[in-house]
């Protein structure tokens, strides 16, 4: 019974990892662009949820949606004001620009929200379901379910729709895409919006379960990079699998080996896998 609880907990955690990583893989895969500010987008999603709950008394549907919209808008603004300009510059400028953006967002959050940890006041997702001795925290359950649905829809959007084809076309050959009548600028703006929006929802969902402060983006940013690398660059489905695997391994090794060993196990397996399969689980070689 305890074993089952450990496994379920790990999978729920993994689903959340997958959700906030899918946005990162979108930008990485579509644009060959590393967004170091992704963890900060998650953090801002958490604060948007907080403000909606505190100011407007909104429920999970309201703050989830608000975080998605606010972060989608932020993603678009970031693209138009920053990314569009540095993307033609040298690789180093691209890396440093989002790194700078991450610091800017983090310390702006410190300035506005202070360094204190906050958590969402009591909300409708606070309870726990008891399924024959297995405890399922509602917040994590809803978070995990939404994460899986969103990650799958993002995957379908990219592989089954014309918007997805256009996004892929731009990432494969910008010039050729333009000749086909696709506006790369608009497509990439959309990709940034979707990526940040997914991070926003992920943040809002995690806010129901975790306490956080403006520096939380560091922790989540790192996990997202590992998930994306393990899943395969640019593969949304890969990041779903990778998120679930990492969550599961973390939970199992923390329970049976001890909490301080869980990251050694996860990253040891991670390095081993990249050694055997450098493109990640679902990446194209």
């Amino acid at each position: 019974m305890v074993a089952l609880q450990v496994i379920v907990g790990g999978l729920l955690l993994g689903a959340i990892y997958a959700l906030f990583s899918s946005g990162l893989t979108l930008i990485w895969g579509m644009m060959n662009f590393i967004n170091f500010a992704h963890g900060e987008f998650v953090m801002l999603g958490m604060y948007v949820a907080f403000l909606v709950v505190v100011w407007a008394g909104g429920g999970p549907a309201a703050f989830g949606l608000a975080a998605a919209i606010a972060l989608f808008a932020l993603g678009v603004v970031v693209y138009l004001s920053l990314i569009r300009h540095v993307i033609r510059g040298p690789m180093l400028a691209q890396i440093l620009s989002t790194f700078g953006l991450a610091l800017l967002l983090r310390y702006t959050a410190f300035w506005i929200f202070s360094a204190n940890f906050v958590s969402l006041p009591q909300n409708s997702l606070a309870g726990t379901l008891n399924l024959g001795g297995i405890f399922l925290p509602v917040a994590q359950l809803v978070g995990g379910a939404v994460a899986i649905v969103l990650t799958l829809s993002l995957h379908l959007l990219l592989t089954r729709t014309s918007v997805g084809s256009k996004l892929l076309a731009v990432s494969e050959d910008r010039a050729a895409a333009m000749l086909m009548g696709i506006r790369p600028d608009r497509m990439q703006m959309l990709a940034w919006g979707l990526s940040a929006g997914a991070a926003g929802i992920a943040g809002a969902l995690m806010a129901t379960a975790y306490p956080w402060s403006p520096s939380v983006g560091e922790t989540f940013g790192l996990i997202a990079f590992v998930v994306v690398a393990l899943g395969g660059f640019g593969s949304v489905l890969g990041s779903l699998y990778a998120g679930l695997i990492i969550g599961l391994i973390q939970a199992m090794s923390a329970f049976w080996l001890g909490a301080i060993y869980k990251d050694i196990v996860v990253y040891g397996l991670f390095v081993a896998l990249l050694w055997l399969r450098p493109q990640g689980l679902m990446g194209k070689a």
């Binding site: 008891n130 306490p211 956080w212």
Partner: protein
């Protein structure tokens, strides 16, 4: 000829540079303080910074209303001709190597006369080593790892109680509880795995062994964990009568919430200060953490008392009550200021001598210590602590009985009534 004039110019510069700070510093004593002002423990660092700003106001301006508190009644340090204290705060982000670099910078570039810090024991450990090398007195504000004062250092002083003091307090409390007929079969220790958690955890294991209290399970973990369900499940399996957490803020909140969501409630939870005293803890989990115990050497006291007046000053500044961590830092700062005043000089050697002769009585303190008196390792031998318990949205002093203002709840109820 040209070379001579160049040399002359260089000499002029050198003189100007060296002389300027000395002339300016004559009327102030400069103290460098290292804290985590950003990062995971930023809330505690910021709260302590506000507390030191209140202490500066008390020392630098006349506050005769504050009773026997040293240096309160006068403006500035009377033995240094009313010299004011000046504080430079720097942010080590909880990183021991940053703390080490900043301590060097404070001494060599900012030319501070004394140092204080550094919240995380791991940061105090590295920063005090720098002070030792340069011969600058270092007041460890509230870090409690034992090894900070066991290295034979001459320049490190610590007014706060340390790990072994706390561990002994817990064992005395358990003995009291057993006498009162409570069942204490085995305890569990859950500690974050840096210097702070490890050393306090070790001290509790050692004292528990001496007091014949079995330790059912010990769980070290990393404070930056995003998920602690596995650890809570381990506790649930081990079924201890008391779980002692040695945790920072986010993890303390996360454990409390996870225990609730996995339906686990031991008879008693004791939080070893720090995360459980952080200003964010009570608002975040007071509805599910009723009866959680904590330690504190700080009590607000009756209205009109010195402690209550200090709390009012702090509250006016921050909107919050003073917490134990910040209060212990503030007390350490007062002890340092008292030594500088008695030295009658800001020369490091003289201040060090004055620190070794420190003998503050309980009525000169804002904390519940028996006094401040440093042994040859620099540790305050009169430090001690109270135990408090979360009742509603406040911690109440529940042990020892003689000082208690509230009634001990055992077992803890968890949810609000």
């Amino acid at each position: 000829m040209r070379r001579t004039s160049l040399l002359f110019a260089a000499a002029c510069f050198a003189v100007a540079f060296c002389a300027a700070p000395a002339a300016r510093a004559a009327d102030t004593v400069k103290i460098g303080i290292l804290w985590p002002l950003t990062g995971n423990a930023a809330a505690a660092g910021q709260a302590s910074k506000a507390a030191i700003e209140v202490a500066l106001d008390i020392i630098n301006n006349a506050h005769p209303e504050l009773g026997n508190l040293p240096l309160a009644a006068t403006a500035g340090l009377p033995n240094l001709g009313g010299a004011k204290l000046d504080v430079v705060f720097v942010d080590h982000e909880g990183n021991p190597s940053t703390a080490q670099q900043l301590a060097t910078r404070l001494i060599t570039q900012d030319k501070v006369d004394m140092l204080m810090g550094a919240y995380q024991s791991s940061c105090s450990f590295t920063a005090t080593a720098v002070a030792e090398r340069y011969g600058i007195p270092f007041m460890v504000g509230e870090s409690s790892a034992l090894n900070i004062t066991t290295r034979g250092f001459k320049w490190t002083f610590r007014a706060t109680p340390i790990a072994t003091d706390y561990a002994r307090t817990y064992m005395r409390f358990f003995a009291d509880m057993k006498k009162a007929g409570k069942k204490i079969g085995a305890i569990a220790i859950v500690n974050e795995n840096t210097d702070y958690g490890t050393s306090v955890g070790d001290a509790i294991v050692a004292e528990a062994k001496a007091a014949d209290v079995p330790v059912a399970i010990r769980i070290p973990y990393s404070a930056s964990s995003t998920d602690v369900s596995a650890q809570v499940l381990q506790l649930k399996q081990a079924q201890p009568d008391v779980v002692i957490f040695i945790s920072y803020t986010a993890d303390a909140i996360l454990y409390t919430k996870t225990m609730k969501s996995l339906d686990y409630k031991p008879p008693m939870v004791i939080g070893d200060d720090t995360g459980f005293s952080d200003p964010s803890f009570v608002p975040a989990v007071s509805d599910i953490a009723q009866g959680v115990m904590n330690r504190s050497a700080w009590a607000i006291g009756k209205p009109g008392s010195t402690t209550s007046k200090i709390n009012d000053m702090y509250k006016a500044k921050t909107g919050r009550d003073l917490d134990d961590t910040s209060a212990r830092n503030m007390q350490s700062f007062f002890a340092l200021a008292d030594a500088i005043n008695r030295a009658g000089s800001k020369e490091p050697e003289k201040v060090r001598d004055a620190l070794t002769k420190t003998d503050l009585k309980p009525d000169q303190l804002m904390m519940g210590y028996q006094g401040v008196k440093f042994d040859e390792t620099g540790q305050n031998v009169l430090a001690s602590t109270y135990l408090i318990q979360l009742h509603g949205k406040q911690y109440e002093l529940v042990w020892p009985q003689a000082a208690a203002t509230g009634t001990l709840q055992w077992p803890m109820s968890g949810a609000a009534q």
